[in-house]
């Protein structure tokens, strides 16, 4: 038994199953992070004092991390574009770069976190630190999730390219959509937590 429209688009919707699935998933992710941003707003307007992020957090490191993530989004698009032109070698290169840039982001985050712990700043210290660790922590889990999928598509998952290149390209496109979303969340997180 074959499930229809896993690879080819259905004529009247113009989409394949995976594409709709990933967009629906992203819609639910918007609701998840939306609720947490709403929490941030409610806690901040309800408190008598709220620190400016730049007095506590390391803005240069976060700026560097923003550039890292945006670059990884660019390499992700290039990876997909290479597949569209059926250049598997360049795909491997760009896909590998995407995973590595995700790793750089995590390294920087590790140094940021340990500096905070070193200065006795924990989630329980105050609500600014609490929402900072919760939001960036949850975002980090998403980065790790995206890296796992991207690494799989770079490595063992790329076998599919030999048998069904179109399906494989769709998979890379969908994981790319998720990766851009993770990037986008960071672009909202950065000013909200570090600059405002």
């Amino acid at each position: 038994m074959e499930i229809p429209y896993t690879v080819a688009a259905r004529e009247d919707t113009g989409l394949n199953n995976g594409k709709i699935g990933i967009w629906l998933f992203l819609a639910s992710e918007v609701m998840l992070f939306g609720a947490l941003f709403a929490t941030y707003i409610l806690l901040r307007v309800g408190s008598t004092e709220w620190p400016h992020g730049y007095t506590i957090l390391n803005v240069p490191l976060a700026t560097f991390n923003t550039i890292v993530l945006i670059s990884s989004s660019v390499t992700m698009v290039m990876a997909w574009a290479s597949l569209m032109r059926r250049r598997f070698g360049t795909f491997r290169l760009y896909q590998g770069a995407t995973v590595l840039l995700g790793g750089v982001f995590l390294m920087v985050k590790y140094f940021e976190y340990s500096a905070k712990f070193h200065h006795e700043l924990f989630p329980r210290t105050n609500n600014f630190m609490a929402i900072y660790f919760t939001l960036t922590g949850l975002h980090m889990l998403h980065v790790i999730g995206g890296m796992v999928v991207n690494a799989y598509l770079w490595g063992p998952g790329s076998k599919l390219y030999k048998t069904n290149p179109e399906w494989f390209t769709n998979r890379v496109e969908n994981s790319g959509l998720f990766w851009h979303f993770v990037d986008l969340v960071w672009i909202f997180l950065f000013p909200t937590l570090y600059l405002l």
Partner: protein, 589 residues
Amino acid sequence: MATTKTATGHDVHAAGAGHHEELGFLRKYVFSTDHKMIGIQYAVTGLLFLLFGFSLMMLMRWQLAYPGQAVAWLGKLLGENRMPGGVMLPEFYNELGAMHGTIMVFMGVVPLAVGGFGNFVLPLQIGAPDMAFPKINMLSYQSYFLGGVTMIASFFIPEGGAAQAGWTSYPPLANIATSGQTWWLVGMIFLITSSLLGSINFIVTTIQLRAPGLTFMRFPFFVWAQFVTSFLLLLAFPPLEAAGVLQLMDRVAGTSFFMPTGLVVSGQVAPNAGGGNPLLWQHLFWFLAHPEVYVLILPAMGIVAEVIANNTRKPLWGYRSMVYSLGFLGFMSFIVWAHHMFMTGMGTVMSTFFQTTTMIISIPSVVILTALILSLWGGSIRFTTPMLFALAFLPMFGIGGLTGLPLGLSVTDIPLHDTYYVIAHFHYVVAPGTLFGLMAGIYYWYPKATGRMMNEFLGKLHFWGSFVFMNLVFMPMFFLGLAGVSRRLFDGGETYQFAQPALHYNVMSSWGAWMLGIAQIPFIINFFWSMKAGKKVGANPWEATTLEWAAPSPPPHGNFDHPPEVHRGPYEYSVPGRTTDFQPQFERA
């Protein structure tokens, strides 16, 4: 799809669509990716949880009717730390209350209505070979199962047992509760993941895997109901997941998201940094939990619509307006949540806004209910067991809905808030409402799932017992609530002077609950007995018009012998000039 090798080693795909491999026991029954098996897994697990959740309530009803009286054998059965000498401890009562709500809503009704019926019926009704993502479908069930195991396991935590802060888990109480609450949160994250995976699958399947000719306005109403429900699950659950993460942080990492400054616990100021907001939890929780109410009711409405059209032998009255109402209802359900919070002091402007939206959302519900009632008019009704349950759904849901109006208005809510009236109101919607709808569905689609009919006599016994005793359980609660008895009392109100004239209603309600338990025995017997000994049926025993009846009963792997095509709307019953009184969607001219 990856090609699978059978034991003989030949390639199944090369063998063609007509050939189906024999799967081993584990692949067929436990790790199945077939939507029908997953649907049955969901339904059976859901039914077991419903029975379990109901048993918790039957225990609580003893304490409410006869507060402080001992049942010796229960003490031995449940242990001295729960019921020493057979007398229930307040902490255990709280566990039962919290877990009854959680189990019934998240592990009973929703998995049966959406996971069970949605998985089994929806792909058949749209003529699909399976769900769009069969493996994700399997993961969805497994995640639900793990969530259920986590919740049940929490009863056996040596210190404090399961969650005690109610199914709503309001902080700060939930923040300072025993470790069962942490288990509850972890269990909820599994359950939320499950319904997220499920809802994506349903939406994609509905949009993509429709049979040729099946346009949206030719959908059976049940498909529409599941479609809208899936959007509610998809978009309303993530905020609760966020809230769950925040509460988990509060409990595990010591943050103060929901802990206000200077909170005093047992005479001492709590060690938290403070600055949090308990109302924040309520907003995030009800942002899910109000749409959740519609998640509970819409699939049941869909089932009732199917059963009514089939057993009145005429088209649904106002199909289009029902569909539009459904969509409007789904949208509105996202902006009514704070009518659960009129008494929190959130302000009159907020209350006015939410009472207005609440009054507006009652309109589409009434449109659907009215259309269903009008559908009966002029029909030659067959009083089969599913039809009896579907017919009973109408007045029961009507009572539940109408008694909700005083709760939705911020002024009349004040005296009724947190009384037994509220319990009676929402149980009329969910228990004799939704559950009757789901029961109708079980009797209606059982022949499709097993190839055999359920016994009509036992079915009618089950129906009349359930109908009478369901009302005996919940009707007295309206009177208790109007007498002002709070729903949160461990002794059912015994210590309050003003409650004395109403206390006998507690006894009535409790006996109703126990009798309702007995009334389910014919159903349990019927369910198993009919599997072996029920009357064998063909593809279309109810002479119905929708696509699931084109497949053999039970449908094989891949569902249909030939890919079905759709030629007309879903309810072409009693078309003038035809020899039969039904014209299936899949029949050519």
